[in-house]
Amino acid sequence: MNKKIIEATGLTRHFRVLERREGLSGAFKDLFSRNYRTVKAVDGVSFSVDRGEILGLIGPNGAGKSTTIKLLTGVLKPTAGGVTVDGFVPFSDRRRYVANIGVVLGQRSQLWWNLPVIESFKVLKEIYRVPDAVYERNLKLFNDLVDLKRHYHTPVRKLSLGQKSICDIAASFLHDPALIFLDEPTIGLDVSVKKNVRKIIRTLNRELGTTIIITTHDTGDIGNLCPRLILIDKGTIVYDGPTARFNKAFGSFRTLHLDMSDMGEDERGALEGRLAGCFPCREKISVREEGDGWVTLTLNQDEVPLLDVLNHCLKTCRVKDVKIEDISLEEVIIKSYEGALA
């Protein structure tokens, strides 16, 4: 068997989108003459995935993640380039191909709203022609992991978001697919459920050897699940490599949000220069206006202590509120273009 399960070369998808005019008169004009613009949602992407791997696919909104997933799942036809997954060309062989994969789209359950969970599983068993032995084994596996039995007779509509996510993920493993796509599997879940979901994904990957592709905004998902990640921006791959290297490059970066709405715009504007003067370091502290009085600083803790910068700001500026976060994906991308991962 081929060690690679996915091989994509020069995968490209362009969309023609309608450029809508503004206002009611614009909407009226749109009815008669439409002007289109081409968007390169995915633009010449090449990568491969090994069997049994968990791959994280990250990128800001509109980066091309969803389009990539749609190309890989056979929903969309590539404009150029190609991809083979487990010997199939997804778009051309759709029906036979999807029998061999599982797809969970964050907020869009594949389970039947009105059906009790166990009935949904029975229908899926019919659809994927799952042999009894496999079906029983997987149900047992799910039960050992998350005690799915509790929910067997609850209609899906009555499950909480977390329970639904867990059932949906379990359902996607039911037919022993070679490959599973999980789109934002932990979005909107609280911390303990997130942990649970990650446990299921990790365990099932290990027990069943399923290849898994996760798209996410949550860097926690990546750190906990994916040894390798691909970072996409504007339809191209910015980074494809070990998560460890990624974390080494960005793990010590922090984003400092400061509410400086009491200060004048020029006062805030002077901050960057002043910080550069007080904290000389190789990579200067970046300062960005959020537009609503908030200012975002991004700094590398290896070079300059976060607390010193914070203290400096509190002493010299009128700061109403403070938030500290990991580096945002947007900043990561800017820094990647500047060569942070080279």
């Binding site: 799942t73 969309l76 964050g106 009105n114 009935e119 229908v123 019919e126 994927y128």
Partner: protein, 267 residues
Amino acid sequence: MVKRLFYYWRIYRKLTSQHIKSRMSFRADFLISVLGMLALNVSGFLSLLVLFNTIPSLGGWDYYEMLFLYGFFGLAIAPVAILFDKFWSLWSDVIWGNFINCCFKPLNTMFYYLSDTVDLKSLGSLAVSVAVFVYALPHLRVSWTALKVVCLVLMYLGSVFSFIGIRTAVSATAFWMGRNVSVMNFFSLKVEQFVRYPLTIFGKPFQIVFVFVIPYAFVAYMPVNHLLHSPDVSPEWFLTPLVGAAVFGIGCLVWSLGVRRYNGTGT
């Protein structure tokens, strides 16, 4: 092929039985909707009675012939009303992106999309149609032969599939238009109301449209007219099953073009 049919049938049976079970659990809602549909159809039937109390015949069709046409039409559209009800929400599933789940199952997309919904309230209409059909049947001046019965069944199937084809094509406009409620309503509330009357009472332009453009004539008028007004089975009778197969094919084609065009919404 047969194996595949059984495979689909098993999935369908499982889903619909579950769906019916869950609908039945909301007993009041279920009973009221069936009764409502029954009342709606009985009132349609009564208006026909009133009409014939004032005019003894319409376009050369007498009272019982009209009723037979009415009943046949009801029977021909019943499968769509009961089993294809989810077409009405296709536009919202397309707009909100839920349709994408249909692309991830190793099944025909139309089958999978329709498979989890059965419109039980349309059973009320079906009951009225059966009653009208059976009531009118013995009063018809038709010299029955075994061949005619077989042909009637064949023509009925043709009518059913013509109607499925038209409805599929009309619904699939959602893939291009997004919200297509106005189109759906135009066909089901306006155009389809004409189809339960003899085609000959309408002007020539309408007749041409209903035969050649949107072949509604084959949903009821053509087969019933053959049965009632031609003494023997003629090749014309077989036009309805043929049109049925063709229109059904076209409907499926439009659907699959729509699915190809569909690309979900961003997530």
